[in-house]
């Protein structure tokens, strides 16, 4: 059994992010939460003050995960927020998602390591047990 819905795992100089869930969407959302937990802790302390919307498309589910994470990083950086929560809907290889958060506030948020991009390293999207797993390494 996975230790929780998401986790950050070891990878050389960077970090791996891994999400689990009963559906592909849930696994993608949890992978995104893992990624943002590197930038800000705890995610529960992030208030949903601003919302961003993203879309992603890719030839397969694994590349779609990378597109989704990179779209979130770009949109969050443009809006100047760290997201605390993310939602994704996937149909026919297209993803429409949104995230909510607030600007990083050193007084209330710990963490503060910026993620530069989601990579194709250790990229894996697969059925696992009753649900799904979605993971890749992110460059920090």
């Amino acid at each position: 059994m996975p230790p929780g819905p998401y986790e950050v795992f070891e990878h050389g100089a960077d970090y791996g992010v891994r999400g689990f869930g009963p559906t592909l969407e849930a696994a993608f959302e949890n992978a995104a939460r893992a990624m943002f937990s590197i930038a800000v802790e705890p995610l529960s302390a992030v208030r949903p003050l601003r919302r961003i919307a993203v879309e992603a498309e890719a030839p397969d589910e694994e590349l779609l995960l990378v597109e989704w994470l990179n779209a979130l990083l770009a949109a969050a950086s443009l809006e100047g927020i760290v997201p605390g929560d993310c939602r994704a809907r996937i149909s026919d290889g297209r993803l429409a998602g949104e995230a909510s958060g607030e600007p990083f506030d050193p007084a209330r948020h710990r963490g503060g390591t910026e993620v530069k991009g989601a990579t194709l390293t250790l990229l894996r999207v697969a059925r696992e047990g009753e649900g799904y797993l979605a993971q890749c390494v992110v460059d920090v």
């Binding site: 070891e10 050389g12 100089a13 990179n70 443009l78 990083f104 050193p106 390591t113 991009g117």
Partner: protein
Amino acid sequence: MQTSDLHQISESCFEIPAVGLMNVPARLFADRALLEGMDEKVREQISNVARLPGIVTAAFAMPDAHWGYGFPIGGVAAFDPRQGGVISMGGIGYDISCGVRALRTGLPEEEVRPRLEEVATALFERVPAGIGSEGKIRLDRRGLDEVLLGGARWAVEQGYGEPGELEFVEERGRMEGADTGAVSDTAKSRGLNQIGTLGSGNHYLEVQVVDQVHDADAASAFGIAAGEVLLTLHCGSRAIGHQVATDYQRELGKAARRLGLSLPDRELVCAPIDSPEGRRYYGAMAAAVNGALANRQVIAALAARAFRSVLPEARVGILYDVSHNTCKVEEHEVDGARRRLWVHRKGATRAFGPGHPDVPAAYREVGQPVLVGGTMGTGSYVLAGTSASAGLAFASACHGAGRSMSRNEALRHWRGDRLQRELASRGILIKGHSLRGLAEEAPGAYKDIDDVARATHEAGLARRVARLRPIACVKG
């Protein structure tokens, strides 16, 4: 890494012969101890690089190599477009033109030490750093295009530093071939307010003392002497570079599929240098390089002003500025013929030897300064390119200590606040924007910088000029 099956070429160079689908051999520069400490993945990745089309001579790993994505960090490879050579995003990385700039202050440690707390505070307050930080420079799209075309020259025109400093920046402060049309709107929008910001992660601004001089002639040419204080910064192109990398990870992936390139690893996404996608990526990358050169020029000026606000007698001036995540078009001699090659250095520093026309006149007799960033608790190095370096690995050397422990493992071993106190007790003042970031960057999580510098020196890639010891560090 298993070393028994490697072919030893010299004391500090080992070869993986070209077998199977490898077009050329792979060569690892390190002594046996460093090599044994290297991840097995370095061997796998550098062997995969050797399979890329149009690669020339060999794929190289520097003594600080570790597991990256696509190329290992510390990977070097040159490609010839006339032989179908490629340009690879995996050979440059996310933080395009991340690099190091060192500034002389003209002051000895005794004069800085009593005011160190004020100096560190001034640097911390005046140089924006940390996640989400923005600079004071506000640009519109047109202004940003000027940055991406002008590099450090743009920054000097805006009043950040002097024109004479540009000679001491690679590419004389401005990389040719930048194509702002190849940089996405997203990349530009993300970069609008980030010029003059340090970022986070392993980026830093450090006050260092010349601890030990290894080569008195070269040190004298570089204008440094034992006991003197330097200001050194490590950062890159910020979100512009990250977004260009992200965009072209996708674009080059499509190109590789369109052209039916068989890639040993999908992280090695690439396109022929002479293809529309390859040319666009080069143009976008060169634009991001200019973004990084402008960024370091602005930060250096802000840091110099901060330093002089506390110690007005300081004469702060540039020693040199290197980039260590790049692809550059260079002429190299291969088997007796001059060839124009696209040299990828991913976590590796260019190291031109004595006499090279691109080395500033003041340093030409001794070779290009190679600035190697170590850790906040141990040290850093100034090396110099050697006459042999061009023939060894297309004039390339190491770039840092190289991690030996993952960030997660570092977080289990150290706590930011305790580390800060421990370093303070050793006379090293740390100002950090993130306690977690400090723990991730704990000196113990890196290879021994002295071993890396020694191996680089012994391999002949670059020679040791001076060791630098940190006395204060601002971490992003």
